[in-house]
């Protein structure tokens, strides 16, 4: 904004719990360099100690501070107020598509349950009981599969993609972009031995086939991961696997 800077921000914050809630208004002093997390922290420390919200690292590494800012899911610690405030106004709500515990804190359990349902855990080949395999696996970093896996392994499970996905909103069983992205990284991990079970777990109306490529996940991911591409990869893998003669 050019001209005189706003002295105060008008911040609407959703207050409530699983039974319901409403927006509450607060006035927060505007500063030259201010993140949305700074704003939330100010409200809780100076104006209303009953406000519930989450944060941890404050530096864009943990993903705990994700919430809905002016309609879009973001990490509040990495969102500058100057970039998102509209005429000095901010609207903060908890992440979408998740049950609300209180105010800006959501219950992440369904998100991680779906991660588990998509078989998002590594299963070592040749050592199913968890023992260390006798030989090191040779995995060329520049191989197509390793590059596909590397493109998605930085996911920290912040839930922004899940909150941004309309299919998650419309289809309760849909595993969601993060769980499917994780499954794709494991499908491409040549050391993993559970490929068949994992592909079965991610197929169908609750799995990758429910994705309609709206690509909000890729658009919003704070780590520039591409769950849409991962989901398309899962569709391809499953497609070829139904053709006769596929190994």
């Amino acid at each position: 904004m050019t001209g005189t800077a706003e002295d105060t921000l008008r911040v609407s914050v959703w207050r409530g719990n699983e039974a319901g809630g409403a927006l509450a208004e607060y006035r927060v002093p505007a500063r030259a360099n201010q993140t949305v997390l700074d704003v939330v922290t100010y409200i809780q420390r100076e104006l209303d100690p009953s406000l519930a919200y989450r944060f941890a690292c404050r530096v864009g590494m943990c993903g705990s501070c994700a919430m809905t800012v002016n309609g879009r899911a973001r990490w509040t610690c990495r969102t500058h107020v100057s970039k998102v405030a509209q005429d000095g106004a901010l609207e903060l709500r908890p992440l979408s598509n998740l049950p609300v515990i209180r105010d800006l804190a959501t219950d992440m359990a369904p998100f991680f349950d779906k991660w588990s349902r998509a078989k998002g855990t590594f299963q070592p080949k040749d050592a199913p009981d968890g023992a260390v395999p006798a030989e090191f696996a040779v995995v060329p970093p520049a191989s197509r599969q390793r590059e596909a896996a590397d493109a998605g392994i930085e996911c920290i499970g912040c839930g922004v993609c899940y909150a941004s996905c309309d299919i998650v909103a419309w289809n309760q069983d849909y595993l969601g972009p993060a769980a499917l992205n994780r499954a794709w990284t494991l499908v491409n991990d040549v050391r993993d031995g559970a490929k068949r079970e994992r592909l079965d777990a991610v197929a169908g109306d609750a799995g990758c086939h429910a994705c309609h490529s709206t690509q909000s996940c890729t658009e919003r991911c704070p780590k520039q991961i591409d769950p849409s591409g991962a989901i398309a990869g899962l569709k391809r893998s499953l497609f070829w696997s139904i053709l006769p003669g596929f190994r």
Binding site: I167, W170, N171, A203, G204, D205, G207, H209, H212, K235, L238, F239, S241, I242
Partner: protein, 110 residues
Amino acid sequence: MNGVHLWAVQRITAMFLALAVVVHLVTILVAVRGGLSGAEIIARTSGSLAWFGFYAAFALAAGLHGAIGLRAIGAEWLGWRGRGVDALWLGIGLATAAFGIRAAWGLFSA
């Protein structure tokens, strides 16, 4: 039919329809010049096994493709889910296809 098969049918019919629609659009654009008439349409299709075969396949693909698409909309926007609903969509898809093949036959034997 599991999820993979339904998706595969949707995408395979899509690929066929892509070609068929291009042919169809060009045919429409040419046919529409100087006004559309029954005589002109029937002159092209009457007795032509090629056109009949094309339109019959087109109708079948479109019927299935449309039904699978409507199924997704019904499930996501109206909450219609379950085996009964799936059977309904299959029925609608096949009925639409049959209706189209009937029309193609009508144009062939006119």
